[in-house]
């Protein structure tokens, strides 16, 4: 990376700044607006920084809405979706890489194909199925929907990770006295951990951000998740932008925390060195 002139650095810096502004400015605006009193939000010309920062928006959010319930529902549903997806995808993807059976490649390809369907295309039939089983307006229906939706991608991604783990390692574990199950637990899963974490994050985000399934499958207010709950704040006769921005802020904070904590797993992996080379 040597040999760049000052001008090139300047241009590069500018490009980065531009991109950053484009991506981060709305977030910044949301965060700052959340801290402004209602009177300041509509001042003209608009001002970036709140003149009299306040937590009243957040206070109102907790006092006047079911934000805490929505938040709790989102955490429960998203976590359950992650757990169920991993429970199905890890053994499924392992089977797709380690066992030979009729139609294996076709199955693997078809799995990805199902991922091409937009949620909107399957939501009505899915709703009818859930209603038939008496699961409409339950968290179980949401968890099943998220799992069904993230499973193809999860299978595909984990399959790639499992494929990259040399079969020698499992065989070594088996000659060392491990059953196949224990070889998977002690050798395969630790090595596939970056992939498993990435899959978990993507599933979590999909569930956490989903609006459309939650909108259609859930009708009781006390079962709503955050995206639907927040959207319903618009339905009041006076739209309380300060409160909406405050809720937006609180929604992304957990995501940012999770991300900053696990990204080191994603980047680092375990490195090479087990098998020669």
């Amino acid at each position: 990376m040597t040999g760049r002139s000052g001008l090139q650095w300047l241009l590069l810096g500018l490009a980065v700044a531009l991109l950053l502004a484009f991506a981060a400015f709305p977030l910044l605006w949301m965060g700052l607006t959340a801290l402004k009193p209602s009177t300041e939000i509509f001042t003209w010309p608009p001002r970036l920084l709140p003149e009299a920062p306040t937590l009243s928006n957040i206070e109102r959010l907790f006092a006047q809405t079911h934000f805490v319930t929505y938040f709790k529902n989102s955490v429960i549903v998203s976590s359950a979706a992650v757990i169920l997806t991993l429970l199905l995808a890890v053994p499924g993807a392992y089977g797709l890489t380690r066992y030979r059976f009729f139609g294996r490649e076709t199955i693997a390809a078809t799995v990805l194909f199902t991922y091409m369907f937009a949620p909107i295309m399957i939501i009505i039939p899915f709703y009818i199925v859930m209603r038939t089983f008496g699961l409409a307006n339950t968290h179980i229906a949401l968890v099943l929907a998220y799992c069904a939706f993230s499973l193809p991608f999860a299978l595909w991604m984990l399959r790639t990770f499992f494929q990259s783990i040399p079969i020698d390692l499992e065989e070594a574990a088996m000659t060392d006295g491990a059953s196949r199950f224990r070889a998977v637990i002690h050798v395969v899963i630790p090595m596939a951990l970056p992939g498993i974490i990435a899959t978990a994050i993507l599933t979590f985000i999909l569930a956490w951000n989903d609006y459309i399934f939650a909108r259609i499958l859930i009708s009781s207010d006390n079962l709503k998740t955050l995206p639907v709950g927040i959207a319903d704040l618009y339905n009041a006769s006076v739209i309380d932008w300060g409160m909406i921005m405050a809720s937006g802020l609180l929604v992304i904070i957990p995501v940012i925390i999770v991300f900053s904590y696990v990204q080191k797993f994603l980047v680092a992996g375990w490195g090479s060195g087990g098998v020669k080379g």
Partner: protein
Amino acid sequence: MAEVKLVALEKKFGDISVIHRINLDIADGEFAVLVGPSGCGKTTTLRMVAGLEEVTGGSILFDGKAVERLEPKDRDIAMVFQSYALYPHMSVRDNMAFSLRMKGVSSAEKKRLVGIAAEMLGITDLLDRKPRQLSGGQRQRVAMGRALVREPKVFLFDEPLSNLDAALRAQMRIEIKRIHQRLRTTIIYVTHDQVEAMTLADKIVVMNGGHIEQVGDPLTLYRRPVSRFVAGFIGSPKMNFFPARLLADESGLHADLGEGIRIEMPQERDAAYRPYAGRSVEIGIRPEHLLDDARPIDSGAVAMDVTVDVVEPLGSTSLLTFVLGGTSYTAIGDVALMRRPGGRVRLRAAAKDIYLIDPESGRVVHPADDASTPVRLAI
């Protein structure tokens, strides 16, 4: 420790037969080396013994007990992989302790056994490292250490030294031999390198195309190869094979190699060789028996006059390459004689060091009452 028997062992991948009903007996504590060219089925055979590959037919017996249907974990074997297959997320210590952990050995005992094995291999100060922090030679030692912490029935090695440089390979060969002399555990060792096979084995098993060509101790294979394949495979540099015609006249049998070269066959082999009189045969002579020097050769020497093509000095001796009938052959020369390319030399060999090969069957024709060591032939 165990005695290992393969009985009519067979392996097919789909319709393709890779191992054709092989039989093999390996005694308790024996160091057996499976050797042969790449693709001959050595690894497949070893993996069947380990339980990593299902057998298509036949049986594998450890101490008389059939194990071919058992899972690898229930066979009590320890294997060293060509790729080493170290667990990258575990320290050297945990790699070595893994099998003990699977057996539920206590921490104190684990520590003791890992310590002993690490000591034996000189890797005690590497125990806290991860595999990626090790050199190739160190990884190889750890891979061995992982097998040595246990007392398995059989050690299985699949080309464990093939990723090392020549100097390290020679050193590890000696260490493996020393370890076997100390532990006396049955070893099945796979290699494509005949030098490794000769130096390590109590018993060499030469494989070719999914068959066993010959089984025997190193010197038997060297002195009494049953086939052209074994004769060419064992020994370095490779044995010379001269196409010839075997002719009979009033003085006995002789081989005509063309270009006026005639090799008299010793009287005592007349009975064995007589059926080939008048036919095309091959004459096999090892380079180290085809000498260009003044040393006397005791009995029935044969000689051939050839033109030197290339001289490769090795220090104490030199390799002489010469061409006959368009094919290159090798002989050993005396460096003191200072041969030059293009010079004529007289190469000599003792009659006892000459082999006659039936080119149709590829078998070496051995006189029945030869004074050499007895041979066990593969069926």
